[in-house]
């Protein structure tokens, strides 16, 4: 199991029947592959769709049917389409149970940075700022460290923010961290690691939960 797969499988366990969820581009889209039987989740794509299905077959491919990552998708029965203004009204209006997205940096205050590196990257925030400001629960799904081995979970974000005090939980291949007003609480650690090993790879101060437990993941598909 790769680190990314472990993250996707762990977050899949948070889904409850009837949830409306927006999955960010990249790692978060993998989560859709690990939903338990009997749990119906409606995925929203902010370009204007509820009820996003998996990728199409070559014959089903339709240029008018894409997700927010501009990838071709399919419809599930009961799906609906709407304009961008309505899509973001449902996001901003607090109707999404969960928004799961990637990050470049997260900090002790629940601040999130995931949209720009000044002077290097001009892409844009897309819908990320609206999602983190509007979803009932914001979960960051990311690899614990950068490819260079630097911590992504910092005392204070150094990159321009996507949202201020917006993150509720951080899930990496090593652990689950819950963001509280008191700071970052380590609630779960992956097999083969302990709290000290996670802290050694984390710049931010972690508060170890008295109920610290092993991170268990959903079964593979």
């Amino acid at each position: 199991m790769t680190g990314k797969e472990r993250i996707a499988r762990r977050i899949a366990r948070e889904f409850r029947d009837g949830f409306y969820v927006n999955l960010g581009i990249g790692l978060p889209t993998m989560i859709a592959g690990y939903i338990a039987a009997g749990i119906d989740v409606m995925f929203q794509s902010e370009n204007g769709m509820l009820g996003v299905g998996g990728p199409p077959s070559a014959e089903q491919e339709d240029p008018d049917l894409i997700n927010a990552g501009k990838q071709t998708v399919t419809e599930i029965p009961g799906c609906s389409f709407f304009g961008s203004e309505e899509s973001f009204a449902m996001i901003r209006g607090g109707h999404m149970d969960m928004s799961i997205l990637g990050a470049m940096q997260v900090d002790e205050h629940g601040n999130l940075a995931n949209w720009t590196i000044p002077g290097k990257m001009v892409k844009g925030m897309g819908g990320a700022m609206d999602l983190v400001a509007g979803a009932r629960r914001v979960i960051v799904a990311m690899e614990h460290q950068t490819k260079e081995g630097a911590s992504r979970i910092l005392k204070q974000c150094t990159l321009p923010l996507t949202g201020q005090s917006v993150v509720h939980d951080i899930v990496t291949e090593l652990c689950w961290i819950h963001v509280t007003p008191e700071g970052l609480v380590l609630t779960e650690v992956a097999e083969g690691f302990d709290a000290a090993a996670v802290q050694a790879r984390t710049e931010a101060k972690l508060i170890v939960s008295p109920e610290l437990r092993a991170m268990t993941v959903a079964a593979g598909s």
Binding site: S57, Q71, G163, S165
Partner: protein, 239 residues
Amino acid sequence: MNKVVQSADEAVAAVASGSTVMLGGFGLCGIPENLIAALVRRRVTGLHTISNNMGVDGFGMGLMLEAGMIASHIGSYVGENRRLETLVLKGELDLTLIPQGTLAERIRAGGAGIPAFYVPTGLGTVVAEGKETRKIGDRTYVLEHALHADVALIKAWKGDRLGNLVYRKTARNFNPAMATAADLTIAEVEELVEPGELDPDQIVTPGIYVNRILVGATYQKPIESKFIQAAIGQSGGAA
């Protein structure tokens, strides 16, 4: 009443250099391909464009950028256009990036006679810098202003000569909101039908918002990110 024009060139003949132009679409999905091509043929310059994205190198609004027609752009994500990134980093194009939902709502407000409104989006980020904020209840909001354009170029699936429009799947995106927010709204459709053929209960854009309508000559509809079943589990593009 007949708003039908026979060609895309005729449709955009009134678009002047220096205009503010809204263009519908999300990525390359639901973009007014034929109107963009006509605008490029017309070679108007100094345009101030408002569109979620900026096409890709070689298609959609990317063609306008390559033709040097765009002076400034307001959008939410331009990551698919490498030429734009280069121009911005060199300081040759005035780019304003704003959150996608704020963009959509500013356009909607522009068409609905609402000059400004408060949103929670972007508080504590560069987006809120220099903007008025206000605490309402226990949360602080940012004041955002409506957007309005001289011209909106939009794409629908079917329409009639009165300008009533319906859209198809995710090709709807920004098109209906933009249709309401410009002095001159030009819609291109894949199919023109007789008034009465569109179910009035299903019409998304009532004809009052549309000034001109034409049938697009051809549709390429390129797919930006091919993603078919064999690719399950792989991750896709950028944010």
